[in-house]
Amino acid sequence: MPQNATKAALRVRHLRKAYKDVVAVNDLDLEVRPGECFGLLGPNGAGKTTTIEICEGLTPADSGDVEVLGLHWATDAKALRQRLGIQLQETQLSDKLTVLETANLFRSFFHQGPDAMEVIGLVQLEEKAKSRVGNLSGGQKQRLALACALVGEPDFLFLDEPTTGLDPQARRQLWDLIEKFKLSGRTILLTTHYMDEAEHLCERVAIMDHGKTIALGTPRELIASVCAEHLVEFSAGTQAHPLDLTALSAIDGIRDVQRENGSVRMQVTELHRAVPALLAELGRQSVPLTELRTHSATLEDVFVTLTGRHLRDE
């Protein structure tokens, strides 16, 4: 196994955690490189939150080894806490405090870090600095939670489902903030069950299911490993004059041609060759085309291919 030149920011070995009746994390290995944004992607109940909370030193593991920034929770907890920025999934900050008071409180726990007002500016809440937390919108609360994770100027940022429950605009805004933080070269571990979020933010992702990683790599690699890069869906032909699909399967670069409630779905590697070939074939059979759609394969497609289930099936 080739050793990285730099030490891993997070190294997890044979991690195991069981609750009364379920095994939440089952012999999990993970490695997050310094400066990368690493995503744990998976459906609810896959063990993402348990994993991240063990890494954060909040939940004890049954067995296995966790090393964060070269330190261990058992021996270096105090030093580690000073260097981590943590955002939990369900925290409700006190409604009665203002944004600035909340940031000041969290700032007071850390030896070093920017001024509270500076962090508030970073998450674009300057105008709300004197507002009570109870009066903030969901997106603003989430940005304040991010600010509270950033006040200690952390080397490593843990984000547990940072955009769950937010509207699309608020999610975009939070993504921009996380990307800005990435530019400073610090490490991020985030969990999400939104595949677009992982694709957008993460250099590498681990797809988790039932407490194990079932795939690991860059989003592009994962997609390429399990399915062709693009999906084409179209409707053509009539009851009287149906389309003959056998000719399509024979075209180079087209595979897995399937009828799916009246339309046809197929995987293609190169759109610019497959689509003209498809149109030519329709012309040859003189079948009219009524609908044509293409999309790039996503991590969702990867998950479906690997497990036969969708990410957000509860």
């Binding site: 909040l58 000073q82 939990l88 925290t91 409700q92 009665k96 007071s108 850390f110």
Partner: protein, 342 residues
């Protein structure tokens, strides 16, 4: 520089959260004062009551008017009967055969019986009776022996218990329910600061809240404080810490506000009843007295009453201090063992 101190910030947060909860402020400051004012007015020393009576002849009414404690109206027999039935008068004096007097009244009504004695004395004296033994009255209306004097230490004790137990239990359980404790555990905040911030903010509020109730009682009702004020403050601090420990114990594992408020009420209710807030705890049977004496609320109320009303010194109150210290130590020890930091 001070702004960066974690303990200072945490205590400030406790304080802000409290002051921004109008209901909490009312229950801690307003309620005891309103209660003291209401009860003080209801049980104030009234001038001796004048009893309304009726007489049916001018001669009888003249005799009765010599008695200052009777308000006499002269009515016809029929009118007098009706007023008696309606309760407008408590006694009717009529003439019987041979110059005798007939008193009509309800003997189950204490006012009726009093009126009977006063009326008869007035009638007999008017007819020339001389009392064989001379008697004079000395009236006792001293501050210190009134109900309000008994009540204020009770209210102070009740307030100390309520604000400390509720403040601790509610504050901690609410933070746990919101996963705020867990979030704070994820920062480098020292754990003991978190609990200490509750105690510190309580001690600051204590000065204001004891000051408000005591000040009101002393200024408005003239309730005495015969003992040392400094010692009184010390008892309040010790009691408040004991009740904080009790609140911490209640909050150590509970996950929901509902459960916390149920347990809190179950713990405080027996003390409200038994510990002598509104009436003396000595009214309970002798068998249960040792248990009542061992309750923290009994200890602080007894200490406050002895200090304020009898001027007792701390040396005389060592048993009460012992009870409070024991509660503080035991509750705090168990609470820390049980406490769930998430």
């Amino acid at each position: 520089m001070n702004n960066d101190n974690a303990l200072f910030q945490l205590t400030l947060v406790r304080f802000r959260e409290f002051m921004r909860e109008p209901e909490a402020v009312f229950w801690v400051f307003g309620f005891p004062i309103i209660l003291a004012a209401g009860l003080g007015i209801a049980f104030r020393n009234q001038p001796a009551q004048v009893l309304p009576v009726a007489a049916v002849t001018p001669h009888l009414s003249a005799s009765l008017r010599a008695e200052k404690l009777l308000a006499v109206s002269e009515l016809t027999t029929a009118d007098a009967q009706r007023e008696l039935r309606n309760g407008k008068v408590v006694l009717v004096a009529e003439t019987g055969a041979d110059g005798a007097v007939v008193y009509k009244y309800d003997d189950t009504n204490p006012e009726g019986r009093s009126a009977r004695m006063l009326a008869d004395r007035a009638v007999q004296r008017a007819a020339g009776r001389q009392d064989p033994v001379a008697a004079t009255d000395t009236l006792m209306r001293e501050p210190g022996s009134r109900y309000i004097d008994f009540l204020v230490p009770g209210l102070l004790g009740m307030n100390l218990m309520g604000s400390a137990v509720w403040g601790m239990a509610f504050g901690i359980v609410d933070a746990r329910r919101k996963k705020l404790i867990k979030r704070l555990m994820a920062t480098p905040m020292p754990r003991e600061y978190y609990l200490l911030s509750f105690v510190l903010s309580r001690l600051v509020l204590l000065v204001v809240e004891v000051g408000a109730v005591l000040g009101f009682a002393v200024l408005v009702f003239g309730v005495p404080v015969h003992g040392s004020l400094f010692a009184l403050g010390f008892y309040c601090v010790l009691a408040s810490m004991s009740f904080c420990a009790l609140g911490l114990l209640i909050a150590s594992r509970v996950q929901t506000i509902e459960a916390a408020s149920g347990i809190t009420n179950a713990v405080m209710m027996p003390m409200w009843i038994c510990s002598g807030v509104f009436f003396s705890a000595s009214r309970f049977p002798a068998v249960v007295q040792p248990f009542i004496k061992a309750l923290p609320l009994t200890a602080i109320i007894d200490a406050l009453r002895s200090n304020m009303l009898q001027g007792a010194t701390t040396a005389q109150l060592l048993p009460e201090m012992g009870v409070l210290s024991a509660w503080l130590a035991v509750c705090f020890f168990i609470a820390l063992r049980l406490f769930r930091w998430r």
